[in-house]
């Protein structure tokens, strides 16, 4: 029972960064039709920027949050730059060319990160109020994990509000639904696209910052993480933010439960999950209708 509780909490905490990255990825796909392969690299850049800004010092909570948002802002700028320079030129070129451009961009970012940050491993300390463990009943739980879960809840609520209750969200949904009609009705689609790219990349950067105290920041983290959030996006359904939320929690839980109860299988967990979901519901859990086909 104790083991189950800590497995669940750790699983949800691993799911939060996944959700942040996957929701940004799926948002960009939904609005612009770009499967942004470089998203994992943006996540890695976020983690690196954060680690460099902190320089190994443990901060108080407000400063920690400020630095994390700073890292997210840097990645947002990077995202807008890549949207202006690359994807804005490819809006009408179809999925294949976009995919290829995103892949080439990812290679560039991987190279750039080696050039800028080197191949050393960075360790990021937790913020000072969340260094220890909290006891729930008799179970010790790292308090930082609870903090990450809370941060994830806040971001999810913020996203929900932004997409469903604000006028900007309405414009984003309009462009995602039908770009041409939205433009005809006076929505400035290129601006919305830029904003969505900034938002999606900021989420990836924030995920990198929040995740960095739980992992070690090193080269190659983008490729392993990318596989995880691709799987999450497919399970949840491409283009569905709430699918991304449910699927990232599912994948996080599955992985941590397997680590506790069947360690030999822990790496295969998410693949088994995706195979089951794809065979039952090829379009993903949270997308109605037939499977999305691409041209």
């Amino acid at each position: 029972m104790n083991q189950l509780l800590s497995a669940v909490i750790n699983g949800v905490a691993t799911g939060v960064p996944l959700f942040l990255v996957a929701s940004g990825f799926t948002l960009i796909y939904g609005v612009m039709g770009v499967l942004n392969f470089a998203h994992g690299a943006f996540f890695m850049f976020g983690a690196y920027c954060f680690a460099v800004m902190l320089g190994g010092q443990a901060l108080s909570l407000p400063m920690f949050l400020l630095y994390a948002l700073g890292a997210a802002a840097v990645i947002a700028v990077l995202g807008v730059l890549s949207e202006r320079l690359v994807f804005a030129r490819l809006y009408n070129s179809g999925h294949m060319i976009n995919l290829l451009a995103a892949y080439a961009l990812m290679l560039m970012l991987i190279g750039l990160s080696i050039l800028v940050f080197g191949t050393t491993t960075y360790h990021v300390p937790r913020p000072s109020p969340f260094k220890g463990a909290v006891h729930i009943g008799t179970v010790p739980v790292p308090s930082y994990n609870l903090f990450v879960i809370a941060a994830g809840l806040i971001v999810a609520a913020g996203l929900w509000f932004l997409l469903n209750k604000s006028s900007l969200g309405m414009k984003i949904r309009a462009v995602a639904h039908d770009r041409t009609t939205a433009r005809a009705l006076g929505v400035r689609a290129p601006l919305v696209g830029m904003g969505v790219f900034a938002l999606g990349c900021a989420l990836a950067g924030l995920a990198g910052a929040l995740d960095s105290p739980m992992i070690s920041v090193a080269q190659g983290m983008d490729a392993t993480f990318a596989i995880q959030f691709f799987v999450v996006v497919i399970i949840g359904g491409l283009g569905s933010t709430w699918g991304a939320l449910a699927a990232s929690l599912l994948v996080g839980l599955m992985e941590s439960l397997l680590v506790y109860y069947a360690p030999a299988w822990s790496q295969y967990g998410m693949y088994i999950l995706v195979v089951i979901v794809l065979l039952m519901r090829p379009q993903g859990l949270f997308v109605r209708g037939p499977a999305i086909t691409h041209s």
Binding site: R89, S93, M96, L99, A101, L115, I234, Y271, T293, H294
Partner: protein
């Protein structure tokens, strides 16, 4: 607000130089090209012969990926799985000292079997779900390298010797070059035959208009299955050649980034042209192993170069001669004052 640039046409104009040349050669284009290239490289120094062999093997691999990307018009991010199946099969067989050609054929069969299994799993999927399953399949095989003790994870399986063929020791790069030319040439010739057969035409028909093709009685699903199995076969053959040449089976050949690189090769070379993927493979291998050799951030430049190619030449490098001819004609008509 910026003005959106109009999209360039996705494929090269039909009358470009390269396709005109292949049309002139008729059905002998593959043998003629292979013999000419084979003879030319035979005069190169040994290290360049080794490099050319690597390029040729990657060329075959990219061609096999192009059967899925170009012929079927879908995507794959798990092609390294079939490549790796061939690699690890030959590496596991190293103590039996079989005939190298027999090993190559068997590796192809192993690749085809993996592809068949993959097809059974993904029978009901299409579109992005199918593409994602290629990636999942590749990653699961990659993880198996670390789970199954016999495959040695990151250490790989070293000491794979190519053996002897008709008394020639294939350890010598010049003999291996001709061996690779023979195997790859036969594979490309067979691919060309398939591409031109009625089966090939129904593949292209179901890519261009799946609904109409299905209405005309083309079994689109079974076509996809057969093409993927064939692609798995040729990727397995490429894997066997690769491990025979390199002498070691290593885990990173199966990583999903390698699958991505294979797709990059075939799209950068151009899907529109039959030999396009080989061009892409040659450029990629040259950039990776020669131009930026020893720079650990080489990906910055490689990604940058490919990004420029994607933005400037959506039809791929093999559309370049056609574009050059177009530009030349336009310049001439400008100078002559004709419209």
């Amino acid at each position: 607000m910026s003005v959106q640039t109009p999209a360039a046409p996705p494929t090269a104009p039909p009358a470009d130089l390269a396709s005109r040349a292949t049309r002139a050669l008729g059905r002998f284009d593959v043998p003629v090209v292979m013999v000419v290239v084979g003879l030319a490289v035979a005069f190169f120094p040994t290290n360049l012969q080794f490099l050319a062999t690597t390029m040729l093997i990657y060329g075959l691999l990219a061609m096999s990926a192009n059967m899925i990307v170009g012929w079927l018009g879908t995507m794959t991010f798990g092609h390294a799985a079939f490549f790796g199946a061939g690699i690890y099969f030959v590496a596991l067989m190293k103590d039996f000292h079989l005939n190298p050609l027999l090993l190559v054929v068997l590796a192809g069969v192993v690749g085809a079997l993996f592809a068949a299994f993959f097809c059974v799993v993904t029978l009901r999927l299409s579109g992005i779900a199918f593409v994602m399953m290629t990636m999942v399949f590749g990653q699961v095989l990659y993880l198996l390298l670390f789970t199954i003790k016999k495959l040695h994870g990151d250490d790989g399986i070293p000491g794979v010797l190519p053996g002897k063929l008709l008394g020639f020791n294939l350890l010598m790069p010049k003999y291996f070059w001709w061996y690779a030319v023979l195997v790859v040439g036969v594979c490309l010739f067979v691919m060309r035959l398939i591409h031109r057969s009625t089966f090939g035409h129904s593949v292209l028909a179901s890519r261009d208009d799946p609904i109409r093709a299905a209405a005309l009685g083309v079994p689109t699903l079974s076509i996809r299955t057969r093409v993927v199995i064939l692609a798995g076969f040729f990727a397995g053959v490429a894997g066997a050649l690769f491990v025979q040449q390199q002498g070691i089976a290593s885990s990173d050949t199966l990583y999903w980034l390698n699958s991505g690189n294979i797709v990059l090769m075939c799209l950068v070379g151009g899907r529109g042209h039959f030999f396009g993927p080989v061009v892409g493979a040659v450029v990629f291998v040259w950039l990776n192993t020669q131009l930026f050799q020893g720079i650990n951030y080489a990906n910055l430049f490689i990604g940058g170069i490919f990004l420029v190619i994607v933005l400037a030449l959506p039809g791929g490098l093999s559309g370049l001669p056609g574009k050059a001819v177009d530009l030349f004609r336009r310049l001439r008509s400008l100078r002559g004052g004709r419209p």
